[in-house]
């Protein structure tokens, strides 16, 4: 018995081969690096993971960063999407302006905020001084306690537009009949929002949260430019820690073990979110 090869395969094969060479093969290579050292097979890298306090700190902070930024971006994105949707004039102009931060290279976004946050010459403290505040203690990204909040704010600035845009599209796709029906029934704005709009928006919301959280968990660029993970390890994240381990300290084995564990965790998280999306 011969099974026919699907005729479409020849069209898809080149892309699949290239992707396999550029992703499956590297993944296998990664696993191999993570379980070997100079003498051969070892599980020492994985064992080290569980005793490494800095890794735990970085993982905790990555999660904190991701959850805080996700919550803020979702809240402001939804609020703005609803607000702009209800404006009678100038919607297009507002939308285009709100889009801008998202387009910038993250490196440039981080450069901008370095100019803003600089405690001595930055425009933020400059404006606060103008308003009569004492700014000596406001060190933003270079303060131990304020650094995390400051980098999260940059993320919120750059990526709230992403939430805003996706949720706006979701709002525009809601058919007018259920809204009409709610109005006829005498439901007020907030009730309509809670009982009609949000449930209809749920698939878009979940998709936006999924896409955004995948990006947040791998956060690297902005923090690399803004704080390099400092001061101390106040803004250290998993990506930065892996980067340093591999490319500053040349410990590829341990870095590979960390990234493999990170990959497994994010994949599981993404899968459960995807399942949520499919069932809703």
């Amino acid at each position: 018995m011969t099974r026919r090869v699907p005729p479409g395969l020849i069209w898809v094969a080149p892309a699949m081969v290239v992707l396999a060479a550029l992703s499956i093969y590297p993944l296998l290579y990664l696993v191999k690096v993570s379980i070997s050292d100079a003498r051969g097979f070892t599980l020492a890298h994985y064992a080290r993971l569980f005793q490494d306090r800095l890794f735990m700190v970085a993982a905790g902070q990555t999660l904190l960063y991701a959850l805080a930024a996700l919550a803020l971006e979702f809240f402001f994105g939804l609020a703005l999407a609803l607000l702009v949707d209800s404006l009678a004039h100038g919607r297009a102009l507002v939308r285009v302006s709100l889009l801008a931060p998202m387009l910038l290279p993250p490196v440039v976004a981080a450069v901008i905020w370095r100019l803003i946050y600089n405690p001595e010459f930055g425009v933020l403290n400059g404006m606060l001084r103008q308003l009569g505040f004492h700014t000596q203690s406001l060190t933003w990204t270079s303060g131990r306690n304020s650094a995390m909040l400051s980098v999260i704010l940059v993320d919120v600035w750059q990526w709230t537009p992403f939430m805003f845009l996706l949720l706006t599209a979701g709002l525009q796709a809601i058919p007018s009949e259920p809204l009409e029906a709610a109005r006829v029934d005498g439901a007020g704005y907030w009730r309509t929002l809670r009982d009609v709009v949000l449930p209809l928006l749920k698939p878009t919301i979940l998709l936006a949260l999924l896409l955004r959280s995948m990006d947040l968990l791998r956060i690297f660029d902005q923090i690399f430019i803004l704080t390099q993970g400092g001061p101390g390890s106040a803004t250290e994240t998993v990506s930065l820690y892996i980067y340093r381990t591999a490319f500053r300290f040349s410990n590829f084995g341990y870095a590979a073990a960390m990234s493999f564990v990170g990959l497994v965790i994010t994949t599981l998280a993404a899968r459960s979110l995807m399942r949520l999306i499919k069932t809703s």
């Binding site: 302006s97 801008a100 905020w113 404006m127 996706l166 796709a173």
Partner: protein
Amino acid sequence: MKTILKYTAALLAMAFALAPIYWLITISLKTEIDQFASPPLWFHFTPTLRHYEGIFAHDAFGRYFLNSLIVSTCSTLIALALGLPAAYGLARFHWPGDWANGISFWILSNRMLPPIVTIIPMFLMLREVRLLNTLAGLILVDVALNLPFVVWMMRGFVEDLPREIEEAAMLDGESRLGVLLRIVLPLVRPGLAATAVFCLIVAWNEFLFALILSQTESAMTLPVGIASHVTQYEIQWGAMSAAGVVAILPVLIFASAAQRYFVRGLSLGAIK
């Protein structure tokens, strides 16, 4: 009253989104004295193009710009050349069972790989074949980054087209390749252009791969060049911000060309 509140809130949001970008532009146009003025100067300063002249007189900067251009253009073209046939194959052929969706999801899952995971083996592999610090190495990883996106987006765009035209052409004796090149390609051109723009932006903005794979001046891209100057010459605000503005411009031009497809691209084709 309520209307006034609404418009005030919208204006505040716009100001918060745009003011930092405006501030970058003013810094790039200010003399050192005006840059550090307290209280900050928002409007009243004498603009100068000195910082722009400065960075373009600096050989390395032109090099970074050119490198970024080469890497993003080449990786986009390769991703399109590989991705369009694949998308056509997935959209238009008869596949047994759920193969078409299975393959599509596998392709998309490559896009979900965190860069920090792929970069370690990529670095080691490219080092072995001596492609570190070359544009070719960087183009290769950017293809891996963008190819899944191209397949996923173009599959949707091809599926949006009516099948009948293609079927009629095949009855007239047109080959599959002929159908793709002479019928599908012209019809799908707006979608293809939008997809290309997205790939260009992703490759242009990409930082982590470039940071690790191109550490020599001759192979650095613009974001890496800017980053290396941030840490080296913290105090050269003028040069830094002028470089930043130059790095933003192409993205804005690309983006305005694909505005209509933004949501579709950002949601990986899920929202049309």
